[in-house]
């Protein structure tokens, strides 16, 4: 079962009220520790970004297939899988960011959740704003903004392990194919 390589969706650019990209968003801002005892995926979505000023209503605004665009070091902090799962729960198709916390990146890759590094995508103005329609190729790293009609440079293609796990579904399924 092949999963899609081309993703097209509406963007949410994680900027503050002054229009600046928010860097260093930690996992407590993404998914607060008050909700950590929850283990069911479907219950996690409603808390996504619930502790990030200005973005508390994100779960109500987001639609399945949307693309989240973030700044540097997104997902710093704790190892909680819920900080990835809350976006899976909402049906978010992809997170594009300038850089990610190391554990966060692993957690996304292992759940088969698409996450792409794209330098400058939010800190440089004019590349993407909330509401723009983006089209992203996971295997080449090509990004096109249909709203502005412009190509966005800086996208990094999925690494081999990331693509393999994504195509298998998740780490568990991938493991069955490569380990005895």
């Amino acid at each position: 079962m092949k999963r899609p390589i081309l993703l097209k969706g509406r963007a949410w650019a994680l900027r503050d009220e002054k229009g600046r990209a928010i860097d260093d968003i930690d996992t407590d801002q993404i998914y607060h520790n008050a909700h950590l005892a929850i283990t069911e995926l479907e219950k996690m979505g409603r808390f996504a970004l619930g502790n990030l000023p200005g973005w508390e209503d994100f779960p109500q605004k987001a639609r399945p297939g949307d693309i989240l665009v973030v700044g540097q070091n997104f997902g710093a902090g704790s190892s909680r899988q819920q900080a990835v799962d809350c976006f899976r729960s909402l049906g978010i198709a992809l997170i594009m960011g300038e850089s990610f916390g190391a554990i966060y990146k692993r957690n996304a890759i292992n759940s088969g959740f698409p996450l792409m590094v794209c330098s400058g995508i939010i800190s440089q103005s004019g590349k993407v704003d909330s509401g723009n329609i983006l089209e992203v190729n996971l295997s080449t790293g090509e990004v096109f903004n249909h709203t502005t009609g412009k190509k966005i440079e800086g996208g990094e293609r999925f690494s081999q392990v990331q693509m393999d796990i994504y195509q298998a579904g998740n780490l568990f399924e991938y493991g069955k194919t490569i380990l005895p």
Binding site: D23, D24, D26, D28, Q29, H32, N33, A34, L36, A37, I38, T39, N51, P53, Q72, N73, A76, G77, S78, S79, R80, Q81, Q82, V84, S99, G101, A102, I103, K105, R106, N107, N110, S111, S159, Q160, V161, N170, L171, F172, G175, L179
Partner: protein
């Protein structure tokens, strides 16, 4: 070309050639889960592997340290899910009385220099204090590690951080750590390993090494290694009950992607301002701000040396009227020593609230969250907005916490 420490450790655990940037599969020495994330690990395991056995129960552990003992039903349920699973599988549980899992791995002699240990704790990389590769991971990764004993790693590049100069009390390992964090920033080591060396590092005790290694997470790093000295090796040998334990050292011609020199001569006590660990200033720049509460503890500063320093400062004195001083030893071992060596009496007489061991207020707030407007000084490692409640948290050394507690306001310990 020579190898860095992380390249050598990974190479010892896999059957492939190890170079930075390459993805390799490694055999893991230890895998752990906490009450935080543990139930999700069990759920992932059961959903994917049903009634299968874990790869090696003797290398698999649970440690309940976040909400210990549980103060709410969901956490109590999750701990019980882990206990039941552990019993079925023959896995050892360090239960709610035992303290912080990463410290237990060190103090029980389970983790040794050169080991690879993974767990649902983003500060598990404090095992770098032993020259071991500890790595925090999510519950998918850990469930997979429970079942297979393996994980994948993208071999990271290494930054060499050379710290020159000498620490002179009351400036401590925490101040050194915050100074390094200030220099590197929250993203300075993003996705990379660090090797710490230099005069100031060599002279750190094991407790001080743990403090420094624990905050590599806040620098964005995978792990920060400190090559064990004779004192650390002797500790590991005594705790593990075996002699053949050696440090893994980098080759002289190892390749580093960056070398950073930091001179801590004349360093003043350091403090992280709300709401970022890397927003570091000298304590005297914010001196005088009113303090409502103190948290002494965490995997960064909850050890014997930290408590000894605080007891030394508080002995025969009283915490300022209106200041809550919460003290949570990292492990039951530290707690026991405090009780038996008379330090618990000193803390009690000074007005400190001393509790059983665990992560305390640093994690989910089993011991005290902050209210709106409250100013807290914490010896922990994170002060993100909202993490420990609605108040403002500053990160400090145990000495700064203790002296500030006496005055009821932020006070630099070098002034008194």
């Amino acid at each position: 070309m020579g190898k860095t420490i992380i390249e050598k450790i990974i190479a010892r655990h896999c059957r492939e050639k190890v170079t930075p940037g390459k993805v390799v599969w490694v055999d893991i020495d230890l895998r752990t889960a906490r009450d935080f994330g543990g139930a999700n690990v069990v759920e992932n395991f059961r959903r994917n592997y049903h009634e299968d056995r874990v790869a090696d129960a003797a290398k698999t552990f649970f440690a309940f340290d976040c909400v210990a003992p549980a103060n709410n039903i969901p956490y109590a349920n999750n701990q019980q899910i882990c206990r039941d699973f552990a019993q079925q599988q023959g896995i050892k549980v360090f239960d709610v009385d035992q303290g912080i899992g990463s410290h237990i791995l060190i103090d029980k002699g389970l983790c040794l220099p050169g080991y690879i240990a993974v767990g649902t704790d983003s500060h598990l990389n404090l095992l770098g204090a032993l020259g071991a590769l500890g790595q925090g991971m999510g519950d998918v990764d850990i469930a997979f590690a429970f079942k297979t004993g393996k994980t994948w790693f993208e071999v990271p590049e290494t930054i060499k951080v050379v710290v020159k100069g000498k620490l002179s009390p009351p400036v401590s390992a925490k101040d050194l750590t915050l100074a390094v964090l200030k220099r590197l920033g929250s993203k300075g080591a993003l996705g990379k390993a660090i090797e710490f060396c230099g005069e100031a590092i060599d002279s750190l005790s094991l407790d001080g090494r743990i403090t420094l290694a624990s905050m590599v997470t806040e620098m964005g790093g995978i792990v920060g290694f400190i090559t064990p000295n004779q004192e650390v090796l002797a500790y590991c040998r005594a705790r593990a009950g075996k002699e053949d334990i050696e440090a893994i050292t980098a080759d002289p011609d190892a390749h580093y992607c960056q070398t950073i020199d930091i001179d801590i001569s004349g360093l003043k006590p350091q403090i992280s301002l709300p709401y970022y660990p890397s927003k570091v200033a000298n304590v005297d720049e914010v001196e005088g701000e009113r303090v409502n509460s103190i948290f002494l503890g965490s995997c960064t500063n909850g050890r014997w040396e930290d408590f000894k320093m605080v007891a030394f400062i508080l002995k025969g004195k009283k915490v300022h009227e209106g200041v809550m001083f919460k003290a949570v030893p990292s492990t039951r071992e530290v707690y026991g020593r405090l009780l038996k060596k008379g330090l618990a009496d000193v803390l009690f007489d000074a007005g400190v609230i001393l509790t059983s061991s665990g992560c305390g207020g640093c994690a989910s707030g089993q011991v005290g969250m902050t209210g709106e407007g409250e100013v807290q000084l914490s010896t922990g490692n994170r002060n993100f907005k909202g993490k420990q409640g609605a108040g403002k948290t500053f990160l400090v050394s145990p000495a700064t916490a203790a002296v500030s507690a006496l005055y009821g306001k932020i006070t630099s310990p070098d002034k008194v």
